[in-house]
Symmetry: C2
Subunit: 501 residues, 2 copies
């Protein structure tokens, strides 16, 4: 009597095609090959290198960056509050660490072992909001703040909210971009409307181009719901000008777009002439706070904090109707709550020790050592890259990455094509196999047609980065020889086509 | 020249309707009212009670349950490894804690501050796999294990994988169910095919009924992809019989269903005649390991561990083709990695101190105190509920909840209807407003038509639970009087309709 319709056998043919189509290059195929090589090395295999150098992802502590002492001391006491009662504790921890831990434990019901409110523990959101208010010199309400496990869940929430079934919904994303945006758009069934950053002009953003891209997309029947800005840029490192930020906000207002501002690199600025301004500050300064729906993302994984493994961050949501923020809260509540240690670390990052407090001096020293070293390493790497044949690289004004353009020999392009791969994939694969250096092909981030890049962090320690530069140089030279050089191909290029900067 | 199509203004009308339709009662409207009342109390308001009693969610540490010392000691050292080098450390921590922390820090590259592999740090997966192998007496490969931030992300991954656009995909879910399943199904655009648990027979599961429901769903054009089993049950607390488990596996094999086994309450069994068997063990015993795609979920939030705020858990995936597990890994990699402290805590939960180790005695004592107390509290609460007019409640064989059936006066049913609410919502709302006790209406979990329930944890401490029982009794009596009692309505009922148990 019962008729069975097709049974579903579990296979690539029977699962959600959005999942299959989603790509996330930062942990993509090159990284999977690297992980296999790492396991071979562990098993005693002989390879052309002794260890892998993980430049594929901003993960500083895996490359030896020391955690900031103050954060870890407070977190350690929050984990095991009994320590606060032993006589030795005064010898082991500074007094401001003890009082900060006591304050947090008093105000977080159940401590690190209990679910908090879904948006995060109230004291944490209050501390974060106060810090944002100090940073921007504009009020910030704790109710604007949603704590998250790193910045990634915030992007999921926004894509889930904005992308509707069968409505051709789309979001504008910079190219090159951090592939979390393309991946989540694909997962939720949305379309990516690209806007190109201008490489020849320091990866700057042209608002006129934004308008063109939006209108083209609309003519094609897409419903453009929002726009992603990454400032400072990832993988490109540029820091937006204030004028750019104002233009973007006017654009979003006029075109009724939600602005998703990825500001996770706000503490990583290396160019003394550049300054980070949050979109929250700019939108307030312009008097547009209630007219532009703005989601600002921050994270403890980047900056000099580098607490990637802890998964902490927040999103600050302004200009949304309450009926919609209630839906964000519901999405958060379906995940119960972000982990409490990550929440605490975020509150500490935003409220570090102040002058006069016992931990202040060490904290400042650790911060300045990390940031100073990152700046030196960025300059060393970019300068070395620019010395290579056919390679040009914009200065990293901010963030943790260099994104050099590489002009590849025609033979390399042909070989890659025959493998069904992009030419920059071939370059990165060979670099990995010959020197153990793990970088990500530019094609994983998007790039102008006919150009090739790779993204590398400058996170290897100052002792290691010289060797990385040397190995990269040796590899590049060999690669160019192996594939016959760049004579008769797309030629060298220069990054000096910028008229107004 | 450019024509603008409709602008999208941000409103309930313009966001993803799946998000709007998703419901998560455990943190739903009753809990939101409770949070407002809690804030009013904080501001000094006079209410009929002095504090809220949060029985809506399994969150033991917010109700005073002490964390297990061993876990917290190891985690505290992993947070701040410098402690391992101070002379006092030997006085502050047992030696097995020190060596466990040292071992984990050596084997987790970058410690708790670095992203791990997306599936989790290898040493953690290895420790978890070894523990599963010991539990089930069957081999377990670390590659089967994906660490997660609590069990919830695993449910997201599976729904995302199984539910395709426009294909009428569906998953079988028990009624009553834990509303994470209905919420994620709605979010990913899937359909819920219910199968009823038999309340009059201790919430048991009837495999013949499963088949009927499946065939009915298929006749309606649904493509049924998988089946959720919660064992021990949530909100129902029942522990499945081995025969039931075997039948379910045969059913999944015959009908090509993925089995999602929510086993997060596996350490919470209170009935001495009942025993927990994992579906992994049963599928191995039956020789069906490679024939039934099985996803088993576990978490550090439940059991006696109760580390909810840390967000740790794992899913063990067997019987899947490699092409599909690669897609799960990609989904995990888009989220970078689960938080490391949660991963470590999960490894510790699965590998507690052993007899002869310095921490063993305290660990066993803490575990037994918590589990013994939970058992007493469960019995006290269920027995008190069964004394109330028109209330009947199955014994809680496992998990953390009682799910009593309440027969409500017709007048209450009418009043609720006039408010556009379910009658059990009215009951829970009044209980909250009059006594500050927060429980969740049965309608949030699903229930047989015409029946009403609520879910309450038995997590208030032994000092508090007596008061909860007294207040619940007073409330219930008053409620029944207020609404005219249950004469002339659906009458009382008895839970003795079970023929074969």
């Amino acid at each position: 009597m019962t008729t069975k319709t097709t049974k579903s056998v579990l296979s690539l043919e029977s699962i959600n095609s959005n999942v299959i189509e989603a790509e996330y290059a930062v942990r993509g195929e090159i990284v999977q090959i690297a992980q296999k090589l790492a396991k071979e090395l562990e098993m005693g295999a002989t390879l052309p290198f002794q260890k892998l150098v993980w430049c594929n992802i901003g993960n500083p502590q895996i490359l030896g960056q020391k955690p900031v002492t103050y954060f870890r001391q407070v977190l350690s006491l929050c984990e095991y509050p009994e320590l606060l009662s032993v006589p030795e504790v005064e010898k082991l921890f500074p007094t401001d660490v003890l009082s900060r831990a006591r304050q947090l434990l008093e105000q977080i019901p159940g401590g690190v072992g209990a679910y908090s409110e879904s948006a995060g523990a109230f004291v944490v959101r209050k501390l974060v909001a106060e810090a944002i208010a100090r940073r921007d010199r504009h009020p910030c309400n704790p109710e604007e703040i949603y704590m998250t496990d790193g910045a990634s869940p915030a992007v999921h929430y926004m894509m889930d909210l904005l992308i509707r079934d069968g409505r051709n919904d789309a979001v504008m994303v910079p190219i090159p971009q951090y592939p979390l945006y393309s991946a989540t758009l694909t997962l939720y069934g949305g379309k990516l409307v690209p806007y190109m950053l201008n490489e020849s002009c320091g990866w700057s953003l042209d608002v006129q181009h934004l308008r063109q891209q939006l209108h083209t997309a609309r003519e094609q029947g897409l419903c453009v719901r929002g726009m992603v800005v990454i400032n400072p840029g990832n993988p490109t490192g540029q820091c937006l000008s204030l004028q750019n930020q104002e233009d973007i906000l006017v654009f979003c207002k006029e075109e009724s777009l939600v602005l998703i501002a990825d500001e996770v690199y706000q503490a990583n600025i290396y160019d003394d002439k550049k300054e980070f301004f949050s979109f929250k500050k700019v939108v307030c300064d312009m008097g547009l706070l209630n007219e532009v729906p703005l989601v600002s993302l921050h994270s403890i994984s980047k900056g000099f904090v580098g607490e990637c493994g802890r998964r902490g961050g927040y999103m600050a949501v302004t200009g949304f109707p309450e009926s919609v923020t209630e839906q964000i809260l519901k999405l958060a509540s379906i995940n119960l709550c972000p982990n409490i240690s990550g929440q605490i670390c975020c509150a500490l990052m935003m409220n570090p020790p102040q002058e006069g407090e016992p931990s202040f001096e060490l904290y400042e020293k650790e911060k300045n050592v990390i940031l100073g070293s990152l700046k030196r390493r960025a300059e060393l790497l970019v300068s070395a890259l620019n010395k290579l044949e056919g390679v040009s690289c914009n200065a990293a004004e901010g963030a943790l990455y260099a994104f050099p353009r590489i002009t590849l020999p025609q033979k390399a392009i042909d070989v890659a094509k025959s493998l069904g791969k992009s030419p920059d994939w071939l370059y990165c694969r060979d670099l990995l196999q010959q020197y153990g250096i793990v970088v990500v092909p530019g094609s994983g981030f998007g790039q102008a047609d006919g150009t090739f890049h790779f993204r590398t962090t400058f996170l290897p320690s100052e002792t290691d980065i010289g060797l990385v530069v040397d190995n990269l140089t040796s590899f590049h030279t060999k690669f160019m020889v192996q594939y016959g050089g760049i004579r008769n191909t797309n030629g060298t290029h220069h990054l000096n086509g910028c008229s107004d900067s």
